[in-house]
Structure formats: C-alpha cells, structure tokens
C-alpha cells in the first residue's frame, strides 16, 4: 500500500497506530532488554567465578574426588585436611611437609611493614603535593605516574647489586624496601586526591590558633581522610602480600620465604597434591578477596582517579 494514495485523515490514523505500536514495542523491549542483560550478566559472572569456585571446591575435596571423571562440582564430604597440611599442622598425610605457617608469618611481616612504610612516606608527600606550590612539582608527579610502569625485572638486578652492597640481601628489609617502591607512587597519587578534597579553610583556622603544620595534618586532616588511608594501607599490604619477583630474587634462605615463594615451590615439589595446593592458594587469596569485598568503592574510586582522570 502506498502512503501517498491515502488522504490526510487516514495517514494520521496510520501514523497514530504506528506510534502506539512503537511505544508498545519499546516497552516490551525494556523488559526484554532487562531480562537479556540479567542473563548475560549471570553467564558472565558464572564463567568468571568458575576458577575461584573450582579452587575452593577442590581444596575441600577428598583425594578420590579430585581425580574423578566427570569432575565433582561440590564435594560430597568436605575435608579440611588440605588446609591443615597447607599450614603445616599434623595430618593423615605425613609425606606432605609444608612450613605454611612460617610462610604466612613472613608474608605478614613483609606486608605490614610495607604498609606502614608506604603510609609513613606517602602521607607527607601527598599532603605537600596537594597544598604547596614548589619547583619540580609537575616533574615529581610525572615521575610518580611513570614509575608505576617500571617492570619489576628491570629493577631486580640493580637492586640485587644494591642490597648485596649494603648487606641487605637475604633480609626481609630488602623485599620490604622494594615492595614499598612499588606501592608508594600509587599511594601518593591517591592520597593527594583525598587531601585536595579537604577544604583548606579547616586548616587555616588551626594555623591561626598557633598549631604547626604537622599538628594540623595529624589532628585535623588525617582523621578526615581515614577511609582513604585505610584503602591505601590495604592496597600496599596486598601489593607486598602477593609480590613474587623480589622475594624470589632477594631471599635465598628458606626460613625467610613468603607465601608467594611457598606456593611456587609447592608446585614444583608436590605436583599432584591438588587439594593442598588449592587450600594453600585459597588461604593466600582470602585477604585479597575480603579486602575487595569491604573496600570495593574506595578501590574503584582510587583506581579511576589515579589513572584515567
């Protein structure tokens, strides 16, 4: 049917009907669209989480269930022997010997020291970058941005030489220093953005009342950015918690090894003990997953303000 052959009233009526159809179409689309989005989202989440689910599920399986085909999704009779052996506690399988607790202790020492050192260095620097104008400010900011991009492999050889020179080789301090260098630029950038958001007027009042800059920073400003401090602290902790290359290169003594090296050596030694390996991996991953659960918003805003904006 050709529209030109219709008279105005008919054409209007037809357009009206089309409009109604279009609106109904759109409304139906909205629901279809939501359902579609929901389904795609569900599938994406299922695929994405599969490795993590598999890790936890395997860690709880019995020896026979691990090697069963078709694979068992959920262990029928969950066991925690794997966790016990990953932590070096007595189990029914004495042939597996891991000093897991020691690895965790070492990692905890390295990660918490890195966290403290990073915060200690980052807070004044970030504060100065947010409040003062001085020569070399832009250069310093640029240096911070670029230094996050350095490959650890490039740093590892010169640092190796440096640490040998100062007899820091085979000490936790060597790894702590190197890990802090990894975490510090990001920490400064993030804290700077937090400081900028605090109105300067608050500090001026304190300064006029005779407080020093340091007092103002400590008693007035820092309590206001507590959330950012926590996020940056946790971020630095996690950077050191999972760090691999520096620990691999600077720590030769087994009693100094952190978890990353522990897991790595475990792969080489007990290739088929998948349940214990997955239990170990789960324990290593837990702090990262928990932190993300609680600090998701801070981490996201930190990442976006630190890299795209």
């Amino acid at each position: 049917m050709r529209e030109t052959s219709l008279d105005p009233t008919e054409r209007f009526a037809m357009n009206f009907v089309r409009l109604i159809q279009f609106v109904r179409h759109v409304m139906r689309m909205r629901e279809v669209e939501l359902a579609l989005r929901f389904t795609i989202g569900l599938v994406a989440v299922a695929i994405y989480l599969m490795p993590l689910f598999w890790m936890i599920s395997t860690s709880l399986k019995s020896q026979t269930e691990i090697f069963q085909t078709p694979p068992v999704l959920v262990p029928s009779d969950p066991q925690i022997d794997s966790y016990r052996s990953a932590l070096g506690l007595p189990t029914n399988r004495p042939e597996l010997y891991i000093t897991g607790a020691l690895y965790f202790k070492n990692s905890f020492i390295i990660a918490s020291s890195t966290m403290l050192l990073t915060l200690l260095l980052a807070v004044p620097a970030a504060y100065a970058l947010s409040r003062f104008n001085f020569h070399g400010k832009t250069t310093f900011m640029l240096f911070l941005l670029v230094s996050q991009m350095l490959p650890a492999v490039l740093l590892v050889i010169p640092l190796f030489v440096l640490f040998k020179m100062f007899s820091l080789y085979n000490t936790h301090l060597s790894v702590i220093l190197a890990d802090t260098a990894l975490a510090l630029p990001f920490a400064i950038i993030i804290l700077r953005t937090s400081f900028i958001q605090i109105p300067e007027a608050l500090e001026e009042a304190g300064l006029i009342d005779g407080a020093t800059r340091l007092q103002v920073l400590w008693y007035i400003v820092l309590p206001l950015i507590k959330a950012s401090l926590v996020a940056v602290g946790v971020f630095s902790f996690l950077t050191a918690w999972g760090e691999f290359v520096f620990a691999l290169s600077f720590l030769a003594k087994p009693e100094l090894h952190p978890i990353s090296i522990g897991v790595f050596q475990f792969i080489g030694m007990y290739k088929t003990q998948w349940d214990t390996m997955m239990a170990f991996s789960t324990l290593v991953a837990i702090p990262a997953i928990v932190a993300l659960l609680f600090l998701q918003r801070q981490f996201i805003s930190g990442l976006t303000s630190g890299s795209v904006k």
């Binding site: 669209e33 939501l34 989005r37 929901f38 795609i40 989202g41 994406a44 989440v45 989480l49 599969m50 490795p51 993590l52 598999w54 890790m55 691990i66 090697f67 085909t69 260095l121 980052a122 620097a125 504060y127 100065a128 409040r131 003062f132 001085f134 240096f143 911070l144 941005l145 670029v146 230094s147 991009m149 350095l150 490959p151 650890a152 492999v153 490039l154 590892v156 050889i157 010169p158 440096l162 220093l177 260098a181 510090l184 005779g210 996690l238 760090e243 691999f244 978890i259 897991v263 792969i267 991996s281 290593v284 991953a285 990262a288 659960l293 998701q296 990442l303 976006t304 795209v308 904006k309």
Partner: protein, 309 residues
C-alpha cells in the same frame, strides 16, 4: 633563616612563603629520596650495565669493561630475543584485545541497572587483587591434561575430541597463559571503562534511539568516539601492564615448553639469574623500558587531553 616566627605570631606573607616552600620540600624529601634510590638508581644502573661486559666472570674479577652497544647488537642478533619479542607482542595484543572487549561489553551491560546488577558487578571484580601466584597455580590446575576443568568442559561440549596438554604443548602454551592473563585483567578494564561509560550523556543515546539506531550503531558511532581518550588511556595502561607481566608466566610455564612462552621479562630474567649475563639482560630490560616509555607517553597524552575537555 633570618626570620624566625615565635609560634603564636602570624607569620608575615614573605616569611610564610619561604617557610611554606621549605615545609613542602621537607615533606617531599623522604619519598623523593626513597624513590630516587629504590627506583631511580636501578634505572640508571640498568642503562649503565647495558653498556658493559657484565657476566659472572667479570663479577668475580670485578673488571667490567665498557663495550658500548655490543650488548644491544648481540641481543638484536639473537634469535631468542626476536622470539621473545614476538611472543611479547602476541601476548600483549591478544590479552589487551580480549580484556578490553570483555571489559567494555560488561561496562555497557552494567551501565543500566537490572536485578542484582550491583552484586554481579562486584563479583566480577573479586579476582582483581588476587596475587598472580594464586592465579598461576589455579590456571595450572585448570589447564591440567588429565584432571583439568577446561579439558573436561571442552571435551564434553565436543569442541575438542581428546584432552589437550595445554601447558606442556608448545603450540597451546601461549594461548593458555594469555587466557589466564585475560581473566586477571578483566576487573581492571571493567572498572576503568565503567567510569568512562557512566559519564556519557544519556540524551545522545535517546536521540539516537528515536532516530532508529540499533545497539551496534550506537556503540560504533556514539560510545567509542565519545570515550576515545578513556579508551586510549585504558589501552595504553593495558599495554604497559601486560608487556611487563612476569610472575604469571614464570609460575605457569617458566617461559616453556622450550621457549614457547618466553616473553621479554622472562627472557631478561633468565639472562640474569640463570645465564648470569647481566649486561645483556640489562640491554633487554632497557629495550623493554623504551617500549614502555612509548606507551607511557601515549597514555599521558590521552589523560591530559581528557583534562582539557
């Protein structure tokens, strides 16, 4: 300093100006010095070493020799280097392509709220901070020839007729580490692209819908052009972070089998810590640094462009 403020006096403008500068430098100094030693020194020392004959012998005899670009010409002539460079590019481009595609797709998906969308989005970020040693171990298990989940799924779906030894076979090892790395990189891409997508003006899309544009047209003609600088920034950061990946590959394959997954970072590490040819290893590191610097410059241009908008 000639002028000393007695505490509760309000400093004169001039004095406060110079005092302020001094304070700024004092606050920056610890971080600046630290980064100069732990990041700045290694860069310079790497460059220095790359011009030297620096091997185990010279390390013992302490007689290093300045050989200008000999390390570089040796490296560039070395087929093992070309091989690593090639793998690095394949690894980087393939990883970025899929991470970015999934990231953008998911960012668009979650840009409109639907039932459980926030929870789903949160779950998709859960792997973000997991140490790469865990991811490596996990994928080592998932890709296992006999008991790996991936082989089971693929054979069940009849996509492959018999299990593949993903990691032990030289033609599948690189795809396997790429897949692991894609999984690792999705949260990062999703977060940054989500921030970009959520900032897009709604009315442009409404206008396009009225004009009858479909989803793909909207993506190509609206989303991508409007997000150009964000996309460039994300791609460049992806390039930088992917080119320097070491841990994941070292844990899953150690660059093998043969040299099937050898990339620049693993090649440089091997030259240093296994062949003890520090000079040549530094040359590789410096070449890598130049590539990263190119990426960094493009990235900085992308983000400064965005600020001007």
């Amino acid at each position: 300093m000639a002028f000393q403020s007695t505490g509760n006096n309000i400093p004169t403008p001039k004095a406060s100006f110079s005092r302020e500068k001094l304070t700024a430098y004092l606050y920056i100094l610890p971080s600046g010095l630290f980064l100069l030693i732990v990041l700045g020194f290694p860069i310079l020392y790497s460059i220095f070493m790359s011009f030297q004959k620096y091997t185990l012998e010279t390390l013992v005899s302490r007689q290093t020799e300045f050989i200008w670009f000999k390390n570089y010409s040796d490296v560039l002539k070395d087929p093992a280097f070309t091989n690593a460079l090639q793998h690095s590019f394949v690894f980087t481009i393939a990883s970025i392509f899929f991470q970015f595609t999934f990231g953008l797709g998911l960012a668009i998906l979650f840009n409109r709220a639907f039932p459980l969308s926030n929870i789903m989005r949160g779950l998709l970020l859960s792997g973000w901070q997991i140490p790469s040693v865990v991811t490596g171990t996990l994928f080592l298990f998932l890709f296992n020839l006999d008991y790996g989940l991936i082989n089971f799924v693929l054979t069940s779906l009849r996509l492959i007729s018999e299990p593949i030894g993903w990691i032990v076979q030289s033609d599948t090892a690189l795809p396997a580490v790429i897949i692991a790395n894609i999984w690792l990189g999705i949260p990062f891409n999703l977060i940054l692209l989500s921030a970009g997508v959520s900032g897009l003006p709604e009315d442009v899309y409404e206008a396009a819908t009225v004009d009858g544009a479909n989803g793909l047209q909207k993506l190509i003609y609206i989303t991508i052009p409007l997000l150009k600088s964000t996309i460039l920034a994300v791609l460049m950061l992806g390039f930088i972070y992917t080119l320097r990946v070491f841990d994941l590959i070292w844990i899953i394959t150690k660059g093998g089998p043969g040299s099937a997954t050898e990339v620049l970072p693993t090649f440089a590490y091997r030259l240093s810590f296994i062949n003890f040819n520090f000079g040549r290893s530094s040359a590789v590191s410096v070449i890598m640094l130049l590539l990263l610097l190119g990426g960094a410059i493009l990235y900085l241009r992308a983000i400064t462009k965005e600020e001007r908008l």
